[in-house]
Symmetry: C2
Subunit: 648 residues, 2 copies
């Protein structure tokens, strides 16, 4: 029998890890209140959200002009989803009443036929569904559904779920191949994976079928999006969509035929996630193969070492294989969230642990970098090299911010990071009928059931120290399998169960342990985890002759506050010793700093702009901190890839 | 008495240099016909110009929609200016009748009050002078005047000059501080330097005074351009001007107070040129000091080794000191033309030779790179590193074209390069009351008068061989001074006059030779000119640890056709021998190729995207060609700055 891997409910999971526990608590305690104030436009000096006001306008309870991004309803939906995860974990309960009241408002903003979108219903009710390429109505519906599913699972309350279902039912009626139905698909994918979630939570297959429908008609000829724009005589909400390239929205060919990651990275990730869902739901081997190919293209040719994706600063999109410039790219926080979603689904689909390599890379680096330790400042764009002076003065670099921002006019990222960090447990654990999967060595506890047995696992991870203790407690002698992903950087793993060395088989990247007796057992996994210099593939021109520092899943970086300015003048030998130092006290998570010696190079050209080289080097003692935590201290330059002094 | 340096007429100058002679002939023989066909929309498969058609529409002789860039009249004006220089040099005479007929058309397109602009007079005659920030009316007038002055000097015909004067007179009436006058200034400078030219050629000071007026009111508070945009309720022709930054048009403060080169690089250069003109006309030491400061900021902190300027790909503008990224910048061909104009005027103003260093750098590298050897393909943007795959796929890099284009929707560059190459003599020679200045060692002949003496100079330059022969022929025994700029790269110069070694004084960078006898004398200047590795100032982060190859004024580059792809993996020792090789036969000018040995580095990471470094090097034999001539063969990658293998 084929196993069906699924994610256990978060209410059984508690994060105890000093780093991820910090973020999970912070989201519940600080971010939920902060973002709620933002959504209500009560934080002075930031970009205004207009989000809650828009629902009041749509409900007819406020007489004002609908403002904010066309898709900003979704900021509230993602906030609700985040809150749901907090509630499910037993946190932020004081916001449940706030949420319930807001959900009532959302209900009042919904139109009698189920339609729900504050932009179209207030600004141009006659234009519903006429601008799928830019309008984000289906995208908004998707986030509503995701929030509703999460809120229902967390609270058992179905008010939001019923709102979402009414909208989903309308969508199922409006879209399709039948008489009078609209054969269109969204310009920004999201509805597809959401409809799969809705189908699963309600048990109604028709939602999953509509998700499949949207995937199936995408990329057909003539191109729906181009036809739609043509039908409006080229009239656009977003002028940057002039000369629209269907690759931008992955509508250049049917999804199952796509072999390279193209276009807007977030759109791509949400679509690939839905493709993986569809491959699983329909046992569709062609779709599964396409997912594998796309994943391979991303992770082997188009992904930064930080798990960032999208190397074009304009249109936030993928470019060419190995085109990974370090300072001007996009690497949107949401895109890395999307990469985690896709990877998680690929692991669900295949049972293969390696998909979590990139999930972990994205989580521990780009996703963490997208938010500060206090939860109230965010990066949208996540470069690997920052020089504040040139970001601020260079109109080509305007998308790159040298410090995190309190909010954005287009604010997709802050609540997307929030919902990810609030639900990080779903990236740690998975289950199938007879197994529990441990996908990340993040200290935590899970309390779950496997068939009739109550099973409690407790991970105490000293990951960077190469030691992970797992306590396994089963309330009855019913066999199950523990599958533990052994990450690539966790070398020469040794397993000791109840004091006895064991050699579990490794299957699909998981160490497989059969558990059959009741009571508690203790598994210790030790391995060699050392900070290491990493090079990029020779084809990555931007990293030619450079090295980066990685310790376990964490990419490290130099910050100006530790190492002075003009960081690109720092050169290091790729054999240089790396010393593990005490954690930087201002940073959360107690991750060690890393120290090493290098050279600061001067060209010898000091009084002119160009001249005869006379390279000189002075010794420098350098301190690197985790990239995911950068810019939590004094703002300044930051650099991941360092020039290598090669001994050749 | 203060000397008044001026540029001698081109009709006395003949270019015999194999490189610049090629371009001067090519412009007359091929480019003039090609661009005329383009301006008449008779070249299939290219961007349409609409330029001549627009004049016909404005003249009421064609009933059609006015199309093309708002400022595309200037493409014709620059074509006429280019033709004038060709005619002045005795070339392209078969186009004089074509030009005369076209000038008549321009005259018919002029309105009774002298107004002349096909966009406003056809499309929105009620909006004249209401949108100086975007409308380019004064910019267009400036190019009309420059063309008219050149055409008058070349042919003695005043038809175009009269058209230009009528428009200039209207401008003098419309703009000013008087009752009913408009206190505005152009969003794109050009009228100022043109009015100075017009004042000089007509002897009417009021034109120069109006140029001064436009400079004087610029940058005052409240900002005219911001007020104008506000007055239109923010309505814009160019959406990119949303959130207009007055620095963009150098209107953030009065010109004489500006100390750093800011904003759109072409606007800046045209304004600084006018500032240098004004400093000379008014003997204004504050303006002169501002010009010196701005020049210093550009050439010491904001200029590429190729003489390219404008390091932001978006808005074509300056950014911050030492921010000189090599692949994504603008380096517009027009901006380097403007740098030549500014430098030439600074040398006129100060009598100092060093201003020609950057003029020569811009001419021999970026300006030449902007055009192919045949004159029918052009670069607008001139990067120092090109990887075609990423330019084509990366929406952030869309401004960078990996091959020259047959025309542009915004086609300022092709005719701007053309007029510069057709008038290159004006960058070689200058004169004052008692001197002739030789500013470039470009083989050529000049026939001129100094006071009552007829003087003929003939330069035979083997510049890269370090040998320049100058024959000096004076028709009478009247003393004059020959001032010869000795470029920085021309080391240990030796002077031999009529077989006798002499040691001329060096004054303001010029070797000064008193000539007093009639008849011919022969001066030989020899020096050491060697290809050399060059480094950038330590503050230039983009060039950290890199070297470029320069030979005399020519920057060299690697092209894929000679050296394979993935050029950034090439490393070279900055002590590597450089071998002077035969010229590449497909390239004009007989400049030698340069050969050297280097290493092609691989990171050792081949089957994954990231991994443990194991840098390996293989020996490679490399061929560099002049940057100004790149992309005249098989298209592909190109690279100027090479990683250096430092021996430290």
């Amino acid at each position: 029998m084929k196993s069906h891997i699924h994610i256990p409910p978060l209410n059984g999971i508690r994060i105890t890890d000093p780093l991820f526990g910090h973020y999970a608590d912070m989201v519940a305690e600080k971010l939920i209140p902060y973002q709620w104030e933002i959504l209500n436009d009560r934080v002075p000096g930031t970009e205004k959200s207009y989000c809650v006001a828009n629902f009041r306008i749509a409900a007819g309870e406020l007489d004002d002009v609908r403002q904010g991004a066309i898709f900003c309803d979704t900021d509230a939906y993602k906030w609700l989803e985040t809150l749901a995860y907090c509630l499910e974990a037993g946190k932020a309960q004081e916001y449940e009443a706030v949420a319930d009241e807001f959900i009532e408002l959302i209900g009042r903003a919904q139109q009698p036929d189920g339609y729900l979108n504050t932009y179209f219903s207030v600004v141009c009710p006659d234009k519903k569904w006429t601008n799928l390429s830019e309008g984000h109505e289906l995208y908004g519906a998707g986030h509503l559904i995701e929030a509703a599913a999460a809120y229902y699972k967390a609270t058992g309350k179905d008010a939001l779920l019923n709102i979402a279902r009414r909208f989903a039912d309308l969508i199922c009626t409006v879209f399709g191949d039948g008489e009078g139905q609209h054969r269109g698909y969204p310009g920004h994918q999201e509805i597809e994976l959401a409809l799969v979630k809705l189908g699963r939570i309600t048990g109604e297959r028709r939602y999953i079928e509509k998700a499949r429908y949207f995937l199936d008609i995408r990329g057909g000829e003539p191109n729906y999006i181009l036809e739609e724009i043509k039908g409006r005589n080229g009239e656009l909400i977003f002028p940057e969509f002039k000369n629209y390239d269907p690759k931008y929205s992955q509508s250049h060919m049917p999804p199952a035929l796509q072999t390279t990651a193209e276009g807007h990275a977030v759109r791509a990730m949400y679509m690939y996630s839905a493709m993986a869902d569809a491959a699983k739901e329909y046992n569709d081997s062609a779709m599964k193969a396409a997912c594998r190919t796309l994943w391979k293209n991303i992770t082997e040719k188009r992904m930064y070492i930080t798990g960032g994706i999208g190397s074009s600063g304009h249109l936030e999109r993928f470019t060419a294989d190995y085109d990974l410039p370090n300072d001007r790219m996009y690497c949107e926080s949401c895109a890395s969230v999307g990469l985690m979603m896709f990877g998680q689904r690929m692991a669900e689909l295949t049972g293969e642990a390696h998909y979590y390599d990139a999930v972990e890379r994205a989580l521990c680096n780009t996703v963490l970098a997208g938010i500060d330790a206090e939860g109230d400042r965010y990066f949208y764009v996540n470069p690997l090299e920052v020089w504040p002076d040139n970001c601020l003065s260079n109109t080509s670099m305007e998308h790159v911010k040298p410090v995190r921002q309190p909010w954005f006019a287009c604010a997709c990222c802050p609540p997307n990071i929030a919902r990810t960090l609030a639900s990080v447990g779903q990236y740690i654990y998975a289950q199938d009928e007879k197994s529990v999967y441990i996908n990340q060595f993040i200290s935590s506890v899970i309390d779950t059931r496997i068939q009739s047995a109550g099973v409690k696992l407790s991970i105490e991870s000293d990951l960077l120290g190469g030691k992970v203790d797992i306590s396994i407690l089963s309330d009855r002698a019913q066999p199950f399998t523990l599958r533990v992903r052994i990450p690539e950087y966790f070398r020469t793993p040794q397993f000791v169960l109840e004091g006895r060395s064991i050699s579990p088989v490794i299957e699909n990247g998981y160490a497989v342990l059969a558990v059959s007796r009741a009571g508690e057992q203790h598994l210790r996994i030790t391995g060699t985890v050392q900070p290491a210099w990493i090079a990029a593939n020779t084809h990555v021109r931007a990293d030619a002759g450079k090295v980066a520092l990685q310790y376990g899943p964490y990419v490290y970086c130099l910050e100006q506050t530790d190492n002075g300015s003009e960081l690109p003048n720092i050169f290091v030998r790729s054999e240089a010793d790396i010393r593990i130092d005490a954690p930087t006290s201002e940073l959360p998570g107690q991750l060690p700093a890393l120290k090493f010696d290098g050279k600061r190079i001067s060209s010898g050209v000091e009084n002119a702009l160009y001249g005869s080289p006379s390279f000189q080097a002075s010794d420098v003692h350098l301190t690197a901190v985790p990239y995911g935590l950068w810019c939590n201290r004094e703002p300044g330059e930051m650099l991941v890839w360092l020039h290598s002094l090669m001994s050749l």
